[in-house]
């Protein structure tokens, strides 16, 4: 790991975190899971081949309603990188589906920004 100066002792237990994924730091599923991607459990029962770990089960419990990748990591108190690998497993097994919300930054309009301001004023 030399050459990665951020992977020092203070950077945290990088290796230990990935114990949960069997050492995998990336999923073979190539779906883009950015922090705001919404995850939701597949409604029908799935009889996949994946042997579910307690962490997989915990994600499925959470994802009965759509929630973001960042929220999954928050709720499970796991590093986002680890959560991405676990979500990749569940995607491969078709136990979850994902969708990306449209980013307002991509097509910003005055109307939407005004709506955001009004929403903030009403908080």
């Amino acid at each position: 790991m030399s050459g990665h100066e951020w992977l020092d002792e203070e950077a945290g237990p990088v290796v230990r975190a990935f114990w949960l994924t069997g050492g995998r730091t990336a999923s073979d599923n190539r779906t883009d899971l950015d922090l705001m991607t919404l995850v939701v459990r597949t409604p029908e029962p799935v009889y996949g081949s994946l042997l579910l770990s307690p962490e997989h089960e915990a994600i499925l419990d959470l994802a009965h309603q759509p929630l973001t990748v960042a929220e999954v990591a928050s709720a499970l108190d796991l590093a986002v990188g680890v959560v991405r690998v676990l979500l990749g497993d569940l995607l491969n097994d078709r136990r979850i589906t994902v969708r990306r919300p449209s980013s307002v930054a991509r097509f910003p309009t005055t109307r939407i920004i005004e709506e955001v301001i009004h929403g903030l004023q009403a908080l």
Binding site: W6, E10, G12, S74, A75, P108, E114, I117, L120
Partner: protein, 189 residues
């Protein structure tokens, strides 16, 4: 059952940047409707030298990953707040965080003004609209926004406002100011 939309979900992504200890975690937590996501690490004696705690009181943990907050503005329109890592060795995360961001707040601690230079440079280079929030710390010498603007060599159109990162009302005002600035920046393009 609530009417959760399956279509037309809009996400507004805002970054909260600034130096180590400037109040990013506090600001995100002050308005978020969910438990903030963050990965924190106890500062050990060994890391104190690395993180340079001079001028930062009572801060015993440091953010090594990110802060994350959510504000639902209406069904189908959600604002996400992302705090950026406050230490240089986490710069590699910035590009992912900035991807799809609409704007940014740079929090400034006037006792350690230079700590925010890197964030300002980054957003200027990226062309991402940002405003300066001067977080008021007890015991810090008060400066006017104009003093700060000169010290940071900012363009005149960039808003500089005083704020209290602990206050939900103050943070809300910061976000409203940022949205106004985003709108101005859009009009100029």
């Amino acid at each position: 059952m609530d009417s959760r939309p399956s279509e037309a979900e809009l996400a507004v992504k805002i970054l909260v940047a600034g130096g180590f200890g400037a109040g990013k975690t506090t600001m995100v937590a002050s308005v978020s409707e969910m438990r903030p996501l963050r990965t924190e690490e106890q500062l050990t004696e060994r890391s104190i030298g690395v993180d340079d705690l001079e001028g930062v009181e009572r801060k015993t943990t440091t953010t090594v990953a990110m802060d994350f907050g959510r504000i639902t503005l209406r069904t189908g329109l959600v604002l996400y707040l992302f705090g950026t890592p406050g230490q240089d060795r986490f710069w590699f995360m910035w590009d992912e965080l900035a991807e799809g961001a609409l704007g940014a707040v740079v929090l400034v601690d006037t006792r350690r003004l230079a700590d925010c230079f890197a964030s300002i440079d980054y957003f200027e280079r990226r062309g991402l609209p940002f405003i300066i929030g001067v977080n008021t710390f007890e015991g810090a010498k008060p400066y006017t926004p104009e003093d700060i603007r000169i010290a940071l060599d900012l363009d005149p159109e960039i808003p500089v406002i005083n704020c209290d990162a602990r206050s939900r009302e103050s943070t809300r005002q910061v976000l409203i100011t940022l949205m106004g600035h985003v709108m101005t920046a859009m009009a100029r393009r």
